[in-house]
């Protein structure tokens, strides 16, 4: 059999909402290029209605996800890491293309992203132990404080770090029991789409993470104004645009996380993002016969 060069089957990049892969209801798409200008793909360009649908999906998933045991969440997130590892080669290619990196550099970022996900998988059943407490009040009461996930978190993912940065903003929110609507890096959305495929093939329940590709500024303002979103992560938003978004967020008193746009993502993340999306509930109960 003569060997001829074989035409590849190209992927269509869609949104990830409620565990499914719809195109944008607007039908729009936009071109994605490498940093050098080579055409990579057409990505779906999400719209206001996609945002609406994603928030609905995230809200629907919240009761189940936050109500699952921390152990169960840890198992599910570890399984995501298993799926990530399975696609390591694919991610290396996509991150390399998206960020204009050598294979070696891309590999180290992908490895760091997988290990970062594993780090967060191991946090689920420990957050309460470091952020909770039994409080020695001056009276015959048992008094304890526990962290509780805040709800639906809207995340504007970092613009430059297309996988490691993305993982670093998503995982802490869901490890803590929140559900997420995230907008990927505007010019580097493809690793996020592959991450969506990883999530869909793991045991993550539908709607726990929803990933939208498209224009950050447009989508961020819809998320910031959405009255059923509980928290907002501004990491991927240009500094100039942040003030207006913070004002919009005030309408339902969202918890706003002013993440640095482009920190060293390989450094130890600390627990700031884990704690940021937790409420603290304090309970009193009398002690007596």
């Amino acid at each position: 059999m003569p060997t001829e060069s074989r035409l590849s089957v190209r992927k269509t990049y869609k949104l990830y909402i409620g565990g499914k892969f719809p195109r944008s209801e607007s039908g729009r798409s936009y071109e994605v290029h490498t940093p050098r200008g080579a055409f990579l793909a057409n990505a779906a360009q999400a719209s206001r209605k996609d945002v609406r649908d994603a928030v609905v999906a995230a809200r629907k998933a919240f009761a189940g996800w936050s109500g699952a045991t921390a152990y169960n969440r840890g198992q599910v997130l570890y399984r995501v890491a298993e799926m990530l590892e399975g696609r390591r080669a694919q991610f290396v290619d996509e991150v390399g293309d998206a960020e204009g990196l050598t294979a070696r550099r891309a590999e180290s970022l992908v490895d760091a992203a997988i290990d970062r996900w594993v780090w967060y998988a191991g946090w689920t059943d420990k957050i309460a132990q470091i952020a909770g407490s039994s409080n020695p009040v001056a009276g015959p009461y048992f008094n304890f404080s526990l962290p509780e996930p805040t709800g639906v978190v809207a995340i504007l993912a970092p613009q430059k770090s297309s996988l490691l940065g993305l993982v670093s903003v998503l995982a802490p929110a869901v490890a803590g029991g929140n559900t997420v609507v995230a907008v990927s890096a505007q010019d580097r959305p493809l690793p996020a789409s592959t991450l969506a495929e990883v999530l869909a093939t793991s045991d993550l329940p539908d709607g726990v993470i929803n990933l939208l590709t498209g224009f950050t500024a447009e989508l961020a303002s819809w998320l910031a104004a959405h009255m059923d979103v509980n928290a907002l992560d501004l990491t991927g938003v240009a500094v100039a645009d942040r003030t207006e978004l913070e004002r919009l967020a005030a309408d339902n008193v969202k918890r706003v996380f002013r993440g640095a746009a482009d920190p060293d993502w390989t450094a130890d993340p600390g627990i700031e993002r884990l704690i940021a999306y937790q409420e603290t509930k304090t309970v009193w109960h009398p002690i007596g016969i």
């Binding site: 840890g74 059943d125 007596g288």
Partner: protein, 477 residues
Amino acid sequence: MPTWDYAPAPESRETARLRESYQMFVDGKFVDGSGTAFKTINPADEAVLAEVAEANQSDVDTAVAAARRAFDRTWGRMPGRERSKYLFRIARLIQERARELAVLESLDNGKPIKESRDVDVPLAAAHFFYYAGWADKLEYAGLGPNPRPLGVAGQVIPWNFPLLMAAWKLAPALAAGNTCVLKPAETTPLTALVLAEICQQADLPPGVVNVLPGAGATGAAVVGHPAVDKVAFTGSTDVGKEIQRQIAGTGKKLTLELGGKAANIVFEDAPLDQAVEGIVNGIFFNQGHVCCAGSRLLVQESIADELLESLKRRLATLRLGDPLDKNTDIGAINSAVQLAKIRELSGIGEAEGAQRWSPPCALPDRGFWFPPTLFTGVSQAHRIAREEIFGPVLSVLTFRTPDEALAKANNTPYGLSAGIWTEKGSRILWMANRLRAGVIWANTFNRFDPAAPFGGYQESGFGREGGRHGLEAYVAH
């Protein structure tokens, strides 16, 4: 005449992949022991299961040296992030080989397959899962900014939860960066050796985990070895005291998890049907071979008759027999020695004047069996109210007021666990505040979780296993 008998529903014995002989695991390899190989039997029928290598002093020396090398060169300097991934692998492998481990555990220990399948093996996997996640977060565990491992841990475990006890010892020690020399109990060595195989499958570096089968002498050699930095022991209070004496003056760190004589306290406003379940679970789960067993029932006098009637009715539904039958509730006593102890103390109970009761129960001809047994009319002065029987024998005492319940519950040199049954939240908390026990179950019993610290007061031992607190034993601050 019963209308509906359950047909035998045996789990397949082949699943255990039993071998004729088992070697010890040292420096990443299975090797013959230099001691005298011994046999391990199935307590349900006394048949030999396999021959097992015995580790003698020279084997212990080799293993400790391997553990020390692994600590100095590999494990002790490995980033937590990498250690974590080994432990996650082990957790997953336990889940993958869950049924094999469960059947093997029931064969070697005698406990019902329902328990090894639904409790022992899943908890063992969960323990590795939990501690895997701490390996790269030690600086957040409240142990100071620079927590460091201690070195080589010598760990001796009992026969009542062989695989689970191995997990309780290995997981936190490894997560913190220590290497381990583990000695399983002489009547139940098999699942620890399969766990060693799992460590191999996980590519754990050689010497990080070593498993040395043997009896008391092997255990003493491990505990006494000068190059062991940390000793962890779970077993009887008498042996625990021996170990504490043995390491006196050596500077070795020690944690002990010993015996108990827990009070299970039922107040008049308890949810009665669930209290009955809690009592049954408290003393008959695992044939009562549980350090934290609710072996003293303290029932408020006003409901004592009603409760005992319900309890007896419930005991009559317990199914005793073949541990591999999925419908068995009560399995075999682990050894002839333990059976003799249980019989002796039960005889003493009768002699002391307590009234003995068991549901009618036909025992199999071979194997070690003891029917679930109640003693009523027991007082604090009776030996069966003070000494740990470690079998399916419940001593029933009464009380009138919460203060009296408290006084009786605390009137023991032990302090491992206690149970409180009442619908009144404030009373739960009042009792919990005052009970001198390391684990207190309210409206439940015998619940274990890797995230929840477990351990005793006073002669039930010191140190905690599980939770953030469980790291403390394996870390130098």
